[in-house]
């Protein structure tokens, strides 16, 4: 009887503890991986391989999704602007949305699906097949060997992919807006350049770097925590994608408010 009444509280407690435990573990992993970047041995080759995997490997899907995001956003906003005859603002609206919000967030989510999952699966497999133990036994720091290159690669490649996303997105927007919907070419571009600030671009890139840190740390952390063979690896992979995606969307709000409104401003 009493046990039954306590059940929801027990569940709530366990959930909160689990959440805090995971958050603490991830923060500590990110900290250790960051520190390890400043200590020898320098694992340049591993980092370049990860940059290739994260950056070059994601280029095509980022370009395709970027193109269609720009294109469809142009269609939608043009519909709205036509209501009060301001079609000329379409390009600027698309450009602002892409640089500030859509490019970093959607790039983060796409790369999470492709790379965050792979990190969890690869490190998780290494965990359950004792390859991580083997590293430790050979006096190699697994965090420095596995996490640091992934963290640095994701934090540097995500901003570059975000720029790609925006650039290709603007091509999509131009094709649909100017070539298909007939917006005047010079109005389209002059509005883009007069409304988009360097600050808008910077904010987007800072966000992207943060999302890179989030998706790599979540992927690596869940990989390290993997238990229980192939099934465990599958579970870790799924959880990595879910947790990283949700974290990206939640942190997006807080990073935006911090960047736009400062620390304490209302």
């Amino acid at each position: 009887m009493i046990d039954g009444l306590l059940l929801p509280f027990r569940w709530l407690g366990a959930t909160i503890l689990g959440f805090l435990n995971g958050l603490g573990g991830m923060t500590s992993l990110a900290w250790r991986a960051g520190l390890a970047a400043f200590a020898p041995p320098w694992r340049l080759r591993l980092m370049i391989r990860q940059m290739d995997f994260v950056g070059v490997g994601s280029f095509v899907i980022i370009a395709i999704t970027g193109f269609f995001t720009g294109a469809v956003f142009t269609l939608q906003s043009n519909l709205a602007f036509r209501l009060f005859g301001a079609e000329g603002l379409t390009g600027a609206t698309v450009a602002l949305s892409l640089t500030r919000e859509l490019s970093p967030v959607l790039t983060g989510l796409m790369v999470t699906g492709r790379v965050g999952s792979a990190m969890a699966a690869e490190i998780g497999t290494m965990r359950v097949t004792e390859q991580i133990d083997a590293l430790e036994v050979m006096a190699v720091n697994p965090v420095q060997y596995l996490v640091t290159p992934r963290l640095l690669a994701a934090a540097t490649m995500l901003p570059l992919l975000t720029m790609t996303y925006t650039a290709v997105g603007m091509v999509g927007s131009w094709l649909v807006g100017v070539k298909y919907l007939g917006i005047d070419q010079s109005t389209f571009w002059s509005r883009v350049f007069s409304y988009v600030d360097p600050d808008d671009i910077w904010n987007g890139l800072i966000k992207a770097a943060c999302f890179g840190v989030i998706l790599s740390v979540v992927g690596c952390y869940l990989g390290f925590q993997t238990r229980g063979g192939a099934e465990g690896v599958g579970r870790a992979t799924t959880r990595a994608v879910v947790i990283a995606s949700v974290s990206i969307l939640i942190s997006d709000y807080f990073i935006t408010s911090l960047l736009e409104y400062g620390l304490l401003a209302k």
Binding site: T125, T129, D133, A134, V137, M138, A139
Partner: protein, 267 residues
Amino acid sequence: MTDAVGGGGTAEDPVIEIRDLHKSFGPHSILRGVDLTIPRGEVTVIIGRSGEGKSVLLKHIIGLLHPDRGEVLVDGVSMTHAGPRGRRALLRRFGMLFQNGALFDSMTVFDNVAFPVRESGRGAPRGDALRQLVRDKLALVGLSGVEDKTPAELSGGQRKRVALARAVALEPEIILYDEPTTGLDPVRTHAVDEMILETAKTLNVTSVVITHDMQAVFEIADHVAMLFDGKVLLRVSPEELREHPSDVVQSFIHGRPLADASAGQLT
């Protein structure tokens, strides 16, 4: 087989001393006060039922797990309380063969065997010297011409051999074997046992082997330690083990279920 020294009273030169080791995982207490000494230059085999904590014990010896209580000393230096640098120095003296090899599957056989050498820091052999070293180590375990293959292209037995070549690449003084023959057929099992003996002799190393395989115990062991109920039940020579009067020991040797489950005492 090298001449077996009795486990008991003979003066011996311990390289590893395990003192009062306790370890629990959540509510499950696995090790409950393990005391064991591993003599230098000989083969010690640890037996015990599945889930008895043999692998856990091995991981404590090499510092992969931290005990709740007790400690592991290597030549008098605590592995348990060593700082990062001290631990690194101790680890240099060890090689470990993991249950399924634990080869890095993103690397070729060559890179796997070369890995500990490259990671050993400045002054490590490079280029041709490294290539020769890898070839030598692979020859030691009876393999050649597999350098460019990936672990996935090898059979289970070959993987174990490559893993052993990697474990001995830095010529360790102590090699730990975690169930080296599990999952192999009888012929390969015998070959791996031979390989362990051969390695022990040619490199003059201290070997600690965990196994379920009683055949191996009588083939390779100088000393046998039996884990039971989270403690070392006995440490004897293989001959003494065979003749041991305890029910627990006899039922384990002959694969019979224990009549009285509570019979943990030596009688």
